[in-house]
């Protein structure tokens, strides 16, 4: 069974139709890259999957269960549950500037633990300790253990993005999404972020990556989706798409 299934997703802003019926599915541990020129709708697609935008039409299934269907009323509790299935890494990192690296990673899990255990101080304390241990493990994984007490403004862009990845992982999302994770970085800093993503692939994390890094997409993806004008114009394995593009649009896009 597919871990994620997107069916007939539509989204428009005002009169502009940005997504015109998107269908795709993703198996557990798979990495899919979404490529396409700007304005093709790839970021909107990712935002609909993360419920930062609510699709006008369509259905989203996780592990066979429908978690979103257009027209159904979404309570804020349901929204929270839906959002926690997915992790999101933004182009501009969006770390919380007033918190240290470790606090950034721990903030949301701590709030969730507080909600869950309410007045059970013993359980809460235990949960917070676990969260701390997990956060430290994650920091080690992204190679920033020595920066745990620094503030975001003291880090380079690449380091900030690695913290953002650790922060997203701290909630154990089923599927991790990246919205152009290296676009805001200097070229010499993209490598460290891409290395972290490579590492995640090796540990079987299901990922959706919107990217402009063609070489990276080719190397790390199990599947590539090429979007144009709000539809999936072509999809397939990296070699199918990169080496034997079929549509004219993709041929043009790859030549740029």
């Amino acid at each position: 069974m597919a871990e994620l299934e997107i069916k007939n997703l539509h989204k428009k802003f005002g009169k502009t139709k940005v997504l015109k019926g998107i269908d795709f599915s993703l198996e557990k541990g798979e990495v899919v890259s979404i490529i396409g020129s700007s304005g093709s709708g790839k970021t909107t697609l990712l935002r609909c999957i993360n419920f930062l935008e609510i699709a006008d039409e369509g259905e989203i299934k996780v592990d066979g269960n429908t978690i979103f269907k257009s027209g159904e009323n979404i309570t804020s509790k349901k929204m929270q549950e839906m959002q926690l299935l997915f992790g999101m890494v933004f182009q501009n990192f969006n770390l919380f500037p007033q918190y240290t690296v470790l606090e950034n990673i721990m903030l949301a899990p701590k709030l969730h633990a507080k909600q869950k255990y309410k007045n059970d101080f013993k359980m809460k304390k235990e949960a917070v300790e676990n969260i701390r241990q997990q956060a430290l493990t994650l920091l080690e994984r992204v190679g920033l253990t020595d920066k745990k007490d620094n503030y975001p403004c003291q880090l380079s862009g690449g380091q900030q993005q690695r913290v953002a990845i650790a922060r997203a992982l701290a909630l154990n999302p089923k599927i991790l999404c990246f919205d152009e994770p290296t676009s805001a970085l200097d070229p010499e800093l993209t490598g460290e972020v891409l290395n972290v993503i490579r590492g995640l692939k090796n540990s079987d994390t299901t990922m959706i990556v919107v990217t402009h890094e063609m070489e990276f997409a080719k190397e790390v993806s199990d599947k590539i989706i090429f979007m144009a004008d709000g539809i999936i114009a072509e999809e397939g394995t990296p070699s199918q798409l990169m080496d034997n593009p079929k549509t004219e649009r993709l041929i043009n896009f790859l030549q740029k």
Partner: protein, 234 residues
């Protein structure tokens, strides 16, 4: 004489400080509520708030003081006149009970409303200047709206609004002198007593030292707060 003047001015300045601190105590939270009103997605509330803020910011504080102090008394007198002419009804009876406010209460109400409106615009500016990415980051981490506001946004807003707030609060120190318009015994009034009774002008100049000392203190305090929040950039 100098000691006597100092003593009287201290008493007057006590009233100034009382007005200053009570105004802050009420207008700081009220301003936040008004700012939420002016950012509301519910259009009628939004426009009502905007018009209210426009009226309060668009008219002199001195005029507002006079309206609040004398207004209820005028309404009460008018209603009593109507009753004398044979009008009846619960509402007119209610209005007839309106009296002139206690002086200090009138001043306080006028100051609180006036400053809350100015603060609300500072809050609004601060809140709207926080990048939308901060809200979205909280959202994708499954945080609730209030968690995002209190745990993520608020401190960043405070950092941004400290400079304009300190400006406004220092203005408030000096605006308290308007209270003398309706004969509240604050520091300027206490100095003017010496002009009337002893023909002394210098006590009035001397009040400047009190204002300077106090606003100097506030400047240092705000400088300290700004420095305290220097550890992060937003």
């Amino acid at each position: 004489m100098f000691l006597e003047v100092t003593k009287q001015l201290c008493i007057g300045f006590g009233m100034t400080l009382k007005l200053f601190s009570l105004t802050l105590l009420f207008s700081l939270p009220l301003g936040l509520i008004i700012s939420f009103g002016s950012m509301s997605k519910f259009k009628p509330l939004k426009w009502f708030t905007k018009v209210f803020v426009w009226i309060i910011r668009g008219t002199p504080l001195m005029l507002q003081l006079i309206v609040i102090y004398f207004g209820p008394g005028l309404i009460g007198a008018w209603a009593q006149g109507q009753i004398a002419n044979g009008s009846t009804g619960a509402f007119i009876n209610f209005m007839a009970t309106f009296k002139v406010f206690d002086r200090f209460a009138a001043v306080l109400i006028a100051f609180v409303i006036n400053y809350a409106c100015y603060f609300s615009e500072i809050y609004r500016g601060g809140i709207e200047s926080i990048p939308v990415g901060q809200y979205e980051a909280g959202q994708v981490l499954g945080m609730t709206k209030s968690q995002i506001f209190f745990k993520v946004v608020l401190l960043q807003v405070i950092k941004r609004i400290v400079p304009p707030m300190s400006n406004e609060i220092i203005t408030l120190v000096k605006d308290t002198s308007l209270a003398r318009i309706i004969a509240v015994y604050e520091i300027i009034w206490s100095a003017q007593v010496f002009i009337k009774q002893a023909g002394l002008l210098w006590p009035l100049f001397y009040t400047g030292a009190f204002y300077l000392a106090f606003s100097g203190l506030l400047t240092i305090l705000f400088g300290y707060i700004e420095k305290k929040m220097d550890y992060f950039r937003s």
